[in-house]
């Protein structure tokens, strides 16, 4: 029995699969509905901001916006990599551990060598992420082991390596040069420059996924691996690349994390994997592949961070934050399921009308 068969067997609930059967005009219709989904999240975000600001105007103070945006920047970046992986019906749980390892090793360079170039620090961080992502990719794409298991294992292993390397040490902000810290502190008005850069990267990534052949291939693999294989898509190669890129992105996020927080020990990024998956799914990426966009995922990250911050500003106990984001994830997938069923039904109606 091949992996493909096992995969399709393990999740019979993929509601999107009936969509491809319908010709022409329908695809415009589906994309419209899914775009409405993205606008929907944006609408919720907007209402949240509006309500919070109406009660506490200081919510929109420059400093607060800056905090929200930088937090979002890190999660939106991670969500870009996770989106690439999730649309291909895989999952990457190791990103938090990759972020931690990259954050420590890259920022620790400043303590070991003086006058090290900032470009080199970034290159090391991204390089570490890339190597770890390649390890994941090889095991998953060529070893044919499910990504949930491999990245669960590498979540442990990378964190274990991190602990062995870091030991009880710690990088402190005072040991980091000002040009490294200014990567996240420099801003254009209330908007941090790094957020603008990352926004461009996310838009670029989303454009690539939607419009380039290798990007589209990931969606095809996620919709139906068997069909993708039959039309000649190099599945192993594409999935491998997605994991390698996801790793590299987590490495980059690690360097940004180090620059923002300044204090780095072996626990950096612990538990981020679930937050990122939540952001991605809330942002409209189907957990079983085939649909969703990196922009939606970034908006999902922004929504989670905004809620977090508005609870704080409103004086609601921060204790509510976790419960709300969990609830949001469940609502999001329930909504997706509803949309999927609605789509399938209305498409069936349309195609029967065309036939008659």
């Amino acid at each position: 029995m091949t992996l493909i068969e096992q995969n399709s067997q393990s999740n019979p609930s993929n509601s999107g699969s009936s969509v491809e059967l319908v010709p022409s005009g329908a695809s415009k219709f589906t994309s419209l509905v899914f775009r409405a989904r993205e606008f929907g999240i944006f609408g919720i975000l907007f209402i949240f901001v509006l309500l919070t600001t109406a009660i506490k105007p200081r919510f929109l103070a420059g400093q607060n916006i800056k905090f929200i945006l930088i937090d979002t920047t890190i999660f939106a970046l991670l969500a870009l990599g996770e989106t690439m992986v999730v649309v291909s019906k895989n999952v990457d749980l190791s990103i938090g551990s990759i972020l931690g390892l990259s954050a420590f090793v890259s920022s620790n360079l400043y303590q070991q060598f003086h006058h090290v170039s900032i470009v080199f620090v970034f290159a090391v961080g991204i390089g570490i992420g890339l190597v770890l992502g390649v390890v994941n990719g090889v095991l998953i794409a060529f070893g044919r082991v499910p990504s949930l298991v491999v990245t669960l294992a590498s979540l442990y292993i990378f964190r274990g390596l991190d602990v062995l390397i870091v030991g009880g040490r710690q990088v402190v902000a005072s040991s980091l040069p000002s040009n490294f810290l200014s990567v996240t502190s420099a801003s254009f008005g209330a908007i941090p420059i790094i957020s603008i850069v990352v926004a461009i990267v996310v838009f670029g990534g989303a454009y690539y996924l939607k419009n380039y052949r290798s990007g589209r291939d990931l969606y095809a693999i996620g919709s139906s691996e068997q069909a993708a294989g039959l039309v000649g898509i190099p599945i192993a190669k594409r999935v491998f690349t997605a994991f390698a890129i996801s790793g590299a992105i987590a490495g980059l996020a690690g360097v940004i994390w180090a620059s923002y927080y300044g204090t780095i020990d072996s626990t950096a990024g612990t538990g981020y994997e679930f937050t990122v998956v939540t952001a991605v799914v809330v942002g409209g990426v189907a957990i079983f592949g085939g649909s969703g966009s990196a922009i939606g995922a970034a908006i999902g990250a922004l929504l989670l961070n905004t809620i977090n911050s508005s609870l704080y500003v409103l004086g609601v106990s921060a204790f509510w934050d976790q419960a709300i984001s969990g609830l949001l994830l469940i609502l999001a997938i329930a909504l997706d399921r509803g949309i999927g069923l609605y789509l399938a039904k209305s498409l069936r109606k349309r195609s029967s009308r065309v036939a008659s």
Binding site: L139, R144, V163, L164, G271, I330
Partner: protein, 352 residues
């Protein structure tokens, strides 16, 4: 050419049998004996590494370190065999622990708290089951959601409070073994539960149904198995058992706080997978879970005695997990390669 196809077909049958699992006694025996060898090896290494290893006090420590996780792994095993997953187990444990602490500081008697906590566990499991079976949502996403949600409710309930003034007659389970044995209470309960789960999974129609659902849930449904109902009951069962683990966890640490057992869902999943349970469902044994839990406990303890940094223990857990998925896969990969080469040789022979 005909021969080549026969070889391929035979390969297919072989690997099919591996996947359908519960009937293929041969491969199961192999997997469990492999685990047994690893367990014995880790016991030997532990004994060599430290003279303290083979003492009854240390057996107590080993048991204490894996007891609660192993208990959570039992219903999780059945859920994974049925083709689903439950990542919220440690959050159910944490919420149960918080509820226990919350009710205790509000003056409830323990005898009343325990059934309430267990019922609460059933409700949490029911919510998971409802979302998965009634709404048809993917269990991976649902239980990542409830993982966060339940932990969040625990946080709302207890906040940053730590409750630790439980009566000594209960907290003794963290210090004293079951009288007459070196085993802590959690291990005793685990073994009894394992026996029940093992009998149900391998010797009853219900157990057969769970395997059938995991192998092919559509076929199972067509043959009259109540797929949704069984899955729902498994989730409720998981909720109850995890809240039981939460009660034990709280008493053994004599502490209830909201982040009790955070992250232990991953340890539970890795025990289940190490036990040889297929992540795609349809294959696995309870005896494997017992062996896997013992192995994880023994290795962790041996490394602890050898002064290996405890936070880096994930390295071993993750490594074991990778090996456990690669060994069976390697056989399949090897089989495929063999078929490939046999075919090539035949083609070569015909040409020559």
């Amino acid at each position: 050419m005909l021969q080549a196809e026969t070889i391929e077909l035979k390969d297919d049958i072989d690997s099919n049998r591996g996947a359908k699992g519960s009937f293929d006694v041969r491969s199961l025996v192999r997997w469990e004996s492999g685990l047994g060898i690893v367990l014995i090896a880790s016991l030997i290494i532990g004994t060599v590494a430290s003279p303290q290893f083979l003492t009854s006090a240390n057996f107590f420590n080993i048991g204490l370190s894996v007891g609660d996780i192993a208990i959570m792994a039992l219903p999780l095993t059945l859920i994974v065999i049925s083709g689903e997953i439950d990542l919220s187990v440690a959050s159910i444990l944490g919420l149960s622990s918080s509820l226990l602490g919350f009710l205790w500081i509000h003056g409830w008697p323990i005898q009343l708290i325990i059934p309430v906590v267990l019922i609460d566990g059933a409700i949490l499991g029911f919510i998971n089951g409802f979302l998965v079976t009634k709404l048809g949502l993917p269990s991976l996403a649902v239980t990542i959601g409830t993982l966060t949600l339940y932990r969040g409710i625990a946080l709302i309930l207890l906040g940053s409070n730590i409750v630790s003034n439980f009566p000594a007659s209960y907290t003794t389970i963290g210090v004293n073994p079951i009288p007459g044995t070196p085993l802590p209470w959690s291990v005793g309960i685990f073994l009894i539960l394992a026996l029940i789960f093992g009998v149900v999974a391998h010797f009853t129609p219900l157990g057969r149904s769970i395997f059938a659902i995991g192998s092919n849930s559509e076929a199972a449904a067509y043959s009259g198995i109540k797929v949704k109902q069984i899955k729902m009951r498994l989730y409720i069962l998981s909720g109850v058992v995890c809240s039981l683990a939460g009660i034990l966890f709280t008493f053994r640490l004599a502490t209830a706080e909201y982040d009790n057992a955070t992250g232990l869902e991953l340890n539970a999943v890795s025990i289940v997978l190490l036990a040889g349970v297929s992540i795609f469902g349809g294959r696995g044994t309870i005896i494997g879970v017992v062996l896997a839990a013992a192995t994880v406990g023994a290795i962790g303890n041996a490394l602890l005695l050898a002064n290996f940094p405890q936070q880096a223990m994930g390295l071993i857990n993750g490594g074991l997990l990778l090996i456990s998925v690669f060994v069976p896969n390697a056989r399949e990969l090897f089989g495929r390669l063999r078929g490939h080469y046999a075919r090539r040789r035949l083609v070569g022979l015909r040409r020559g």
